[in-house]
Structure formats: structure tokens, C-alpha cells
Symmetry: C2
Subunit: 94 residues, 2 copies
């Protein structure tokens, strides 16, 4: 029923659909990358909850985590980020 673009767009926007995840993505997009702990210090939620949000963003493909023991450095996944941007651009340009 739905084409690839519609499905992808829904997946990306769903991942964006929470203030915490918007904040995380803005932070990662501005500065290159950051650690989970950096976010945890600022955000008014439990570490475990943040971890869940990061997992969702990871599963949507928007971010990726690199191990930098004992921490994990999270960065934007530039390819997916660009794809989401393109899909949204096309979406609004109808």
C-alpha cells in the first residue's frame, strides 16, 4: 500500500517525535558528537530512559555509537540524516 519513501518518512519522523530525541539530535548535529553522560547531565530523565531514546534513534538509523571505552561516543549518521532531510524536503515540495 505505502511506498518505500512514505514508509521511510514515517519511520524517521516517528523517531523525531519526542522532545528528548529532538534535543539529542540537535546537540549531535551542532557539535560533532557527544557522550551519553553529557546528555544525561542536562536532560531531566533517568539514564535508562535516555538509553532507550538513544536506542530508538539508533534503530531508526539516525545516530550511531562508537565505543570509546569506557564511554560511548554518539554521532549523527550522516547518510541517514541526509536521507531524512531529502525525504522531508520532497515531502514539503509537493
Amino acid at each position: 500500500m505505502f511506498n518505500e519513501q512514505q514508509t521511510k518518512l514515517a519511520r524517521y519522523t516517528k523517531a523525531l517525535g519526542h522532545p528528548v530525541r529532538i534535543y539529542v539530535l540537535q546537540t549531535l548535529a551542532k557539535q560533532t558528537c557527544c557522550y551519553s553522560g553529557d546528555l544525561s547531565e542536562v536532560l531531566p530523565i533517568a539514564k535508562s530512559t535516555l538509553s532507550q531514546h538513544l536506542k530508538e534513534l539508533k534503530e531508526a538509523g539516525l545516530i550511531q555509537g562508537e565505543i570509546e571505552a569506557p564511554r560511548i561516543k554518539y554521532c549523527i549518521n550522516k547518510a541517514s540524516w541526509a536521507e531524512a532531510q531529502d525525504l522531508l524536503k520532497a515531502f514539503f515540495e509537493d
Copy 2:
């Protein structure tokens, strides 16, 4: 904790986060407007489910319904549509 823009962006993207709602918005953005029945004929979901999705889009401000008895004509809410577009543009332009 979150500013107005982040909250709004999350609200808009959350409303976009479902294939049915993406489809509806694309349809409304392409053609000027359409009736619930037109969508219902095409979409593989119950009328009542469609009605719920339309309600969500309405509550997010993205669409509006005009009574054209006995039907309801749904259209994009251009102001909110433009706002969502601007917020997303700014979001990706960081």
C-alpha cells in the same frame, strides 16, 4: 527544559510519524483538498481508524476540516504546514 521550537517540532513530527498520516498529508498537499470518503476508498483501514488519524492531524494543527454537508472537506492548514516546514528546515540547517 525544552524550548517552544523543540516542543513544536516534536509535536509536528510525531503527527507525521505514521504511513497513513504521511499519505493523507501528501494527498492533501498535492490536490488542494479532499473528502474523508475519498481517502477511505483507497486506504486499507476502517473508516473509524481513518477518522482517528484525521483527528490527530487536526489536533496537531496540520489539517482542518470544513463541513460541506453531508461530507467534510479536509485541507492542509497552510500556516501550520509552513511552520512545520520552517522548523524542520532550521532543524536540519544546524
